[in-house]
Amino acid sequence: MHFSMPRPGRQPRALALVVLATVLGACASSPEPTAGTADSLPADSSVSTTLSDIIVVKPTDPTPTSPSLPQKPPQVAVVLTSRTPAFEDVATALSDQFDDLSIYDLGDKSQPPINAFKLINDSPTDVVVAIGLRAARSSAALSAVPVVFSQVFNYHDHGLLKQDSRGVAAIAPMQAQLAAWKTAEPGLTTIGLVVGPGHDELLEEAELAAVQHNVTLLTSVVTSDQQALYDFKRMVRNIDGFWLLPDNRILSGRALNEIFEHSKRRGVSVLVPTPAMLSSGATISVSTVASDIAERIHDVVQSIVSGDSSELPPVTPLQAVQVEVAARPGDNASNASSAPRASSQ
């Protein structure tokens, strides 16, 4: 259950073939994105061979870390909900950020989670980094030290935001997502978005992004997959893009199938948060980048350790996105590799 990640050194990992660009405020000042080539595609990223482009944007100006005096490196315990790639990639990226790192896997059925937290609490751990909802909930309940959670979308529902706990966003910034989408689909005019309750800030962020990109945004807050489908079917006649957020409460297999089916029938582009959905019928995925998440966690941890946590937002937004566009019928590899389809602001 507890293992230490081998330290591969400080070399950048898995990003050698991506292009970096400025996000957030820097996005506007550095509008020249560089498209990745076909060679830059990770081997497993060619989801059902429809993947055409990957764009990774990264601030040219690193966010200034908190002013600090020389201090000892923080001792960090990483708790994983399970060793799924989405979580393990982040843990791996974290090993690049921290020298003293211990990783605990709650998916290991051989031992109860409480044992892991006994070990953590008995150790001189400074911060617990929880990856995934289960890990976050367990950490919030059992950890004696501050918790930084990540890869949790509905963090409001589970009381994760305590005084000494912070989070890192589970999805890419809404503005960056829309920017990438608008780049891939320049004709996009009206976008629909259905989300569960408790995401008012996210909706505001989305509406702001829509205004900035001159796109009409239709939103709906629902409580079930039936209701999501119902609203989607009503709005699908009036939209040319549907923004699918990773809200598990209002999504189900049947709902996803119908959303993709109706969208395909009506020619509606669907943006999804994970490339795995491209094979199901989505047209573009804008996902997070593990190294970006790790860096944001590192920053938060540093702030907490240095006692500046009061300055931190409850959830720190990410700064990089990974874009993949499903190839349209007739596209081929050469076209995909030579035609950049996204740009940053």
Partner: protein, 734 residues
């Protein structure tokens, strides 16, 4: 002729049968129409049934499909109402229900089965009473189908599929908490949790739709029936038109059956009927040809092509009728060739036939065109010369004799000059009986022959009236005797000369004279031959001999009979058939019958006689050569002829004791017969000395008064045996 008559009779019977049965028979048109209409009706009924049941099935299927679709939509439409007071959704739901008249009512229930609200299309349903909740059973049933392929419970009436109710659960699903961070399209269902939130009940009423569809089906059925009737009427018209050509054949066939071979068959438009018409034409043509052939055979002599006796008599009768009506005279010539028998015996019957043909040709050229010529048989010809008195007849007869004298017939380096004797009689209003006229001419001819041949003799009614009357009288008596079956048979035994035992009996015919006494055949057979009754008499004798055999074989199992048949019996080709049928009828074994034919007939051996004799032998009958020695045949012929017995003519036996030539001749005949495997029979044996001498000469059997006189029944008669024979028997016994 017989074949043609038979064919015509068959045709007539067919037409008669058709006529007789026509009224009771079904008409072909009606039968085909019945089959057609029944088939069409059956197909129509099946189509209607298929239409009705197919429509029902489609309806039910559609009801189910629509119900499922509506259930899904209502399920979705109603789901927001469980969770919030969404007026817009409610309005949308009401609009949806209103848009489908078949949806009678939609009711929603919470997860415990308590009613939430309902939307109804029924304007009469104005009660504000709260809806009843779902029963536990309904809850259980509806809950059990959550997540199934058919997530609803159908409650309907099996008899009336137009009304049913659907109860469907309403549930929500959600992905697991972290499902979207590790999204796997193939395992998305496994990472889903389900929560039941309520139920929707839909009451469907398809009566309006159903009735509308049934009305359409009824219209379709009506249209189908109209089509069926139209089809039947059209089919009847087409069939009648198609079968008209068959009906039109009826009259020509009827005419054909009547014997009108010139009947005309109209060409038929259809190939099948046309084939029948062609066949009928061919039949009529064949019948016509056969008719002509048979008429020719019936009326003409096969050797010369001249008319035969029957046709000549017809012509004569017609001429006599004309004489009766218009007066006038006709001459009848009876012509007999002189020494024809000599040519025949010397050069064989083919030579005789050639001579006959040559004479016929010469005769045809000798008489005027208006004359009718016929061959009466053998070397006898008759000519009828109409409108001829005595002088014209004399001139014509002289012309004939003169031309005939010029005829030279060459056979095998022999040159024969054939002369003829001609008897002439004149038919007039006072002499108009054809039989009398033929007899008169025949008698005159015989007189011409008796007077030295090669001459013409006119019949003189004053001189020969009695003879003619006698012959004509015999002709009438024989005719009556045949018609009334009054001829009689006598049986004279023939005994083995050595044993003295009777081997068989010769059947002899007798007729009753005017005084009732029995008359021997010598008195009436010439008349029978002359008037064409001989072959009929032969058949009579064969049949009555068979009857006598059947009658007497019980008392005499070894009975064997010898039957005389004349050359006339062979004129018909079916003598062997007649013999076989007669013998079969009376169970006469053919090997117990001996047929006696005269030497002259046997020696001439006409082809038809030889063939029929062969058939009789094949049948098992024995053959005897009668009156041997009176002809002119060579003794060497005996070895060639297929006979079992040789009957030596009585002329050689009568003076046997005093005539050494006769003795030598009889010995010679007996020797040759023995060598040829034939037994010899001596006739007219009247004393014991002759009997002894005949035995000594080698004769095998004897017949005559010494052995036994002709009697009414075939009795066994023992004849005396010679001493030598007696001794031989004793020695053999010792």
């Amino acid at each position: 002729m017989t074949v043609l008559t038979s064919a015509m009779d068959t045709l007539r019977e067919g037409v008669a049968t058709i006529r007789g049965q026509r009224s009771g028979k079904r008409m072909l048109v009606h039968e085909i129409m019945s089959i057609q209409i029944l088939s069409a009706a059956l197909v129509g009924l099946l189509a209607i049934a298929a239409l009705y049941w197919g429509g029902q099935w489609i309806l039910k299927n559609n009801y189910s499909r629509w119900a499922l679709q509506w259930t899904e939509e209502l399920n979705e439409l109603g789901s927001p109402l469980y969770l919030e007071d969404d007026q817009e959704s409610l309005i949308r739901l009401e609009r949806f229900v209103e848009s489908y008249a078949e949806i009678d009512r939609v009711a929603y229930y919470d997860r415990n089965g308590n009613s939430l609200f309902a939307v109804s299309n029924d304007t009469n349903d104005t009660s504000d009473k709260p809806l009843a909740g779902l029963s536990d059973e309904q809850l259980a049933d509806a809950t059990s189908v959550v997540g199934q392929v058919k997530p609803y419970v159908l409650e309907g009436n099996a008899i009336d599929p137009r009304r049913f109710e659907i109860l469907a659960p309403v549930w929500v699903e959600a992905l697991d908490q972290d499902g979207l961070f590790d999204f796997d399209p193939g395992a998305v269902d496994a990472a889903t949790s389900t929560e039941l939130v309520g139920f929707v009940a839909i009451h469907l009423d398809f009566i309006l739709f159903h009735d509308r569809l049934l009305a359409n089906i009824r219209i379709a059925i009506l249209a189908l029936l109209v089509l069926l009737i139209g089809f039947a009427l059209y089919g009847r018209h087409v069939l009648q038109r198609a079968l008209r050509s068959i009906s039109e054949l009826e009259q020509p066939i009827r005419e054909l059956a009547k014997g009108n071979l010139a009947v005309r068959f109209e060409p038929a438009p259809h190939r099948e009927i046309s084939d029948i018409v062609d066949a009928l034409k061919t039949t009529a043509s064949s019948l016509s040809e056969r008719n002509a052939k048979l008429v020719k055979l019936a009326n003409h002599d096969s050797l010369t092509g001249l008319y035969n006796r029957r046709r000549f008599i017809e012509e004569l009768s017609a001429n006599l009728v004309d004489i009766v009506r218009n007066g006038g005279n006709s001459a009848l010539f009876f012509i007999d060739l002189d020494q024809f028998k000599y040519v025949n015996d010397l050069c064989g019957h083919p030579a005789g036939d050639r001579l006959i043909r040559k004479v016929a040709d010469e005769l045809s050229r000798s008489v005027p065109d208006r004359a009718t010529i016929a061959r009466f048989g053998g070397d006898e010809f008759v000519v009828l010369l109409p409108n001829a008195d005595h002088a014209k007849a004399r001139k014509a007869a002289d012309d004939i004799t003169r031309r005939m004298r010029r005829v030279a017939h060459i056979e095998n380096e022999h040159v024969f000059h054939i002369h003829c004797s001609i008897g002439v009689t004149i038919a007039s209003e006072s002499n108009i009986h054809e039989d009398d006229l033929v007899a008169q001419a025949d008698m005159a001819c015989r007189e011409a022959k008796a007077a030295g041949r090669n001459r013409v003799r006119f019949f003189d009614l004053n001189e020969s009236g009695d003879s003619v009357d006698l012959e004509v009288g015999w002709m009438n008596r024989l005719r009556n005797a045949l018609d009334y079956d009054t001829l009689e048979l006598m049986f004279q035994p023939i005994n083995d000369i050595r044993s003295g035992r009777t081997t068989h009996h010769e059947v002899l015919i007798r007729a009753r004279g005017d005084d009732g006494s029995l008359v021997s055949p010598d008195a009436f057979l010439p008349a029978a031959v002359r008037f064409g009754l001989m072959s009929e008499i032969d058949l009579w004798v064969i049949r009555h001999s068979a009857m006598a055999y059947a009658k007497h074989r019980q008392s005499n199992p070894d009975l064997r009979l010898a039957i005389n048949i004349s050359a006339n019996a062979f004129e018909s080709e079916d003598l062997p058939s007649y013999v076989r049928e007669t013998f079969d009828e009376f169970s006469v074994p053919p090997e117990h019958i001996v047929f006696e034919i005269t030497e002259s007939l046997a020696i001439r051996r006409p082809a038809n006689v030889e063939r029929q004799v062969g058939l009789l032998r094949e049948m098992g009958c024995k053959l005897a050569l009668d009156d041997f020695g009176t002809g002119y045949s060579s003794l060497s012929y005996l070895q060639k002829l297929p006979f079992d017995y040789i009957k030596i003519d009585g002329a050689f036996v009568v003076d046997l004791l005093d005539n050494p030539v006769d003795q030598k001749l009889i010995r010679l005949i007996a020797d040759i017969g023995r060598e040829a495997g034939m037994k010899t029979i001596a006739e007219y044996v009247e004393d014991a000395n002759a009997l002894a001498l005949l035995e000594e000469l080698g004769v095998d059997m004897v017949q005559g008064f010494l052995v036994g006189r002709p009697e009414a029944e075939p009795r066994i008669a023992a004849s005396p045996v010679s001493l030598g024979s007696h001794r031989s028997r004793k020695q053999s016994k010792g």
